[in-house]
Amino acid sequence: MKSLHKYGWIAWTSARSNMAYLGEVVARTLFLVLILYIFLQLWRVTYSETQAQQLGGFTLPQMLWYLCVTESLAISAPRIAQDVDQDVRTGALTVQLVRPISYPMYRLWSSMGERGVRFGFNFAVSAVLALFFVGTIPMSIGGCLLFLLVLPIAFILDFLVMFLIGLGAFWLEDTSGLVLIYSRLLWLLGGLMIPLELFPESWQGILHNLPFALVIYAPARLFVHPSISDTLALLMRQGVALLMLTLCVQWVYGLAIQRIHSNGG
């Protein structure tokens, strides 16, 4: 209980610290508004050209709301890998290691606080935009609660992959290439711009089971098409990914921590 209180406070402090980056938050949000507006126009043309009421099971309003969630998720991603990379390279990691806390947990909760603020702000603005252009879609409190259940797990999965990449700094000269590859894979294969239903059928089986979909596509789809059975299936897949990635982080972190050299000072 004390641990939860401790790490909860780290998330809270991180959230408040991120309020200070108001300029960056506003810039990201303006970018989000622009992106959403462009996608709205593209999908409008697509729907009108195909004369379809639904594409992949999404109506136009549902598609825009889906994009609101996916874009907010992608844009709210904290610079976890870069921060861990810097901690390793500059030796700032030592400041965290001389405290009675776990470094991975410190980074996790700190990123949760940061992402919570950013996602909340981004989603609020994109929701206003969606309401203005396409109105509401059928939603319920239960559906929102299901979404809120899977959302933090999506954040944690994303964190674990980014943290693993950051730990690469113990072995690699530069991890920015890996960050770039991961973020592009997440965007392309995670359903950022197009729901997975619109990919070729032969791809769908694979894409649904990749961790990228569990971070972006699945929570966004659940927001638009809430269902208890889908939520349970998603939680199951997220749980398996969470377990595997946690074990992987634990193993790599164990190896990495033995590689700490004396980086001066």
Partner: protein
């Protein structure tokens, strides 16, 4: 009671280069079988040139690094085995790395640290108020860290590291980059804390002012080995056999005789500055020579600056240990 016990502590790093058949391994010894005992309440300066093994030693003593061989106990804990338990009883300040949240006031970092160290709210409030008063944090208590001067930030850093009442305070170059006044203020605060609260202070610094003002004992490490372990008060007077003699005359002087063990540092019309090696020539003999060449208005005998003493020690080869 012993705060820190080190027995033949040894750490080497192995670096690999190349691939396949061309792969080569290099072994670098960072700390070479050092032994040291630090009693509770003592303030010790642990100094050495860059790459001497200071950081590696501190990292082993705080549990961050595992030694290759040897033993160490800090407050009864084996640091690398009980890192988290030990962390509750030690405080660490890195002069070049901040533990304060950059966009938040120091107040918020202390609030967070209270949770990290599981302090009871009442205890936290008492300690916080005491630190705010003693470290003069009131003037910038609610100002974001990014807006603080370096001196203010370092005061807040040290105060933050003392919140959980650590028994040992590790200070790694705490005054680096500070102006003279800020340095003095911080040194006085650390010194007061050591003397009044009995906190053991383990200080590393390249600034001799820190060593003279804060530490009672100095340990010099170089090439991974302890070169010198001595009280700070005796370092200058006993280690170097050199004295600086400054003389002022009533009338101009024209020449000072060449003497073995005497080096003329400065010669002016009405003054003279000499470096005397007291092993080669007694200081009285030099003074009597001076009295013969002119009417003396003033004489001052000084020890050489601590910087010179330390530089001299750093220049010793690895095998030559020094003792007082």
């Amino acid at each position: 009671m012993v705060a820190i016990y080190i027995d033949h502590l040894y750490k080497s790093f192995t670096f690999s280069r190349g691939w396949g058949k061309h792969r080569k391994q290099t072994n670098v010894v960072a700390v070479d079988r050092i032994s040291l005992n630090i009693p509770c309440g003592q303030a010790i300066a642990f100094i050495g040139p860059n790459g001497a093994g200071k950081s590696t030693t501190i990292k082993m003593l705080t549990g961050i690094l595992h030694p290759t061989a040897g033993k160490a106990m800090v407050l009864g804990y084996v640091p690398w085995k009980d890192r988290q338990s030990l962390a509750r009883r030690i405080g660490v300040v890195f002069g070049q790395r901040s533990q304060l949240w950059y966009h938040l006031p120091p107040r918020d970092t202390l609030e967070l640290l209270a949770r990290i160290y599981d302090l009871e709210p009442k205890v936290f409030r008492q300690r916080r108020d005491s630190l705010v008063e003693r470290f003069g944090l009131n003037e910038f208590w609610s100002t974001p860290v990014r807006k603080l001067s370096l001196g203010q930030r370092m005061r807040a850093e040290v105060a933050a590291s003392l919140l959980h009442e650590p028994q040992i305070l590790f200070l790694d170059e705490p005054t680096i980059g500070l102006d003279v006044l800020a340095q003095q203020k911080l040194r006085n605060l650390i010194c007061e804390w050591n003397q009044q609260e009995g906190t053991t202070v383990f200080l590393t610094s390249h600034d001799t002012g820190d060593i003279e003002r804060v530490a009672q004992r100095v340990v010099v490490i170089n090439h991974g080995q302890i070169m010198l372990d001595a009280p700070v008060s005796e370092l200058r007077s006993r280690y170097l056999n050199e004295k600086i003699l400054s003389v002022k005359f009533h009338t101009p002087i024209y020449e000072f005789p060449t003497l073995q063990g005497v080096r003329q540092l400065e010669v002016m019309d009405f003054g003279l500055k000499l470096e005397i090696n007291t092993r080669l020539i007694p200081i009285e003999q030099v003074i009597s020579q001076i009295l013969q060449i002119g009417s003396v208005a003033d004489v001052a005998i000084e020890d050489p600056p601590l910087d010179a003493v330390i530089a001299h020690i750093y220049n010793q080869p690895a095998s030559e240990g020094l003792s007082l």
